[in-house]
Symmetry: C2
Subunit: 110 residues, 2 copies
DNA sequence: TTATTATATTGCAATATTACGATGAAAGGA
DNA sequence: TCCTTTCATCGTAATATTGCAATATAATAA
């Protein structure tokens, strides 16, 4: 089927998994790391930097943009992509809350 | 093609994306949350709890086990699955390092 | 206007993922 | 032994993802 049954899960579970899904590709991690590193970017740089074809990079940028982790400003014929720091922080909070679940309990079993 | 070109990315990028990919499904988030909540579990519980067919749950458990986030102990006819806390901590560290990249620089552009 | 540059979109092929019915395997109970 | 319970695996259908060539679009330059 290939279709995730999102409707049977909570909003929170879908939110976390949606973020994780977007982060679940090395090209998108590489893009984000590069954007953090130079703190401003145009798409052409990324094509050279990462080594995938231009349409492929464009597609990955679209995914990152869709969940709001990056934003792009048109500057002449090129586009300046950068991290959306506000959304990045919000995402980090959401994700960290999930990651820190191991701190909440002290029981042990196996 | 559907094939990720892992070889052009760094070990770190592949590591982070691999973890994220596994967390990129709400059923697996739900499983982890449930395991944290009751801190011990058998697979049957998860089938009732989550609402997917038993083979589907089993498949998701396999994915989680493959990257080491959970472990399973056979107990009679059932299996006791639980979080592998050591690996969970290691994963959290890896992931947090990536998430905290926004703290490393102060420049702004867009 | 025409050409150039930079990025987005379309279309498609290859492969991966999700889900589940059917079946298998292993342990315990009757 | 045979049955039941519990979970894993197999096989398969439907859909999603990845990647790229070709093409479209938009802005600027000549």
């Amino acid at each position: 089927m290939g279709v995730t049954k999102s409707e049977i899960f909570t909003v929170g579970q879908n939110e976390i998994s949606s973020i994780a899904k977007v982060l679940g590709h090395p090209a998108r991690i590489a893009i984000l790391e590069h954007l953090f590193k130079i703190d401003s970017c145009i798409c052409g740089d990324l094509v050279d930097e990462i080594g995938l074809a231009q349409p492929t990079i464009s597609q990955h940028l679209k995914e990152l943009k869709k969940i709001g982790l990056i934003k792009g400003n048109i500057e002449g014929t090129s586009v300046c992509y950068c991290i959306d720091k506000e959304n990045w922080s919000a995402m980090k909070t959401t994700f960290s809350t999930f990651l820190d679940k191991d701190l909440e309990d002290t029981n042990t079993c196996c």
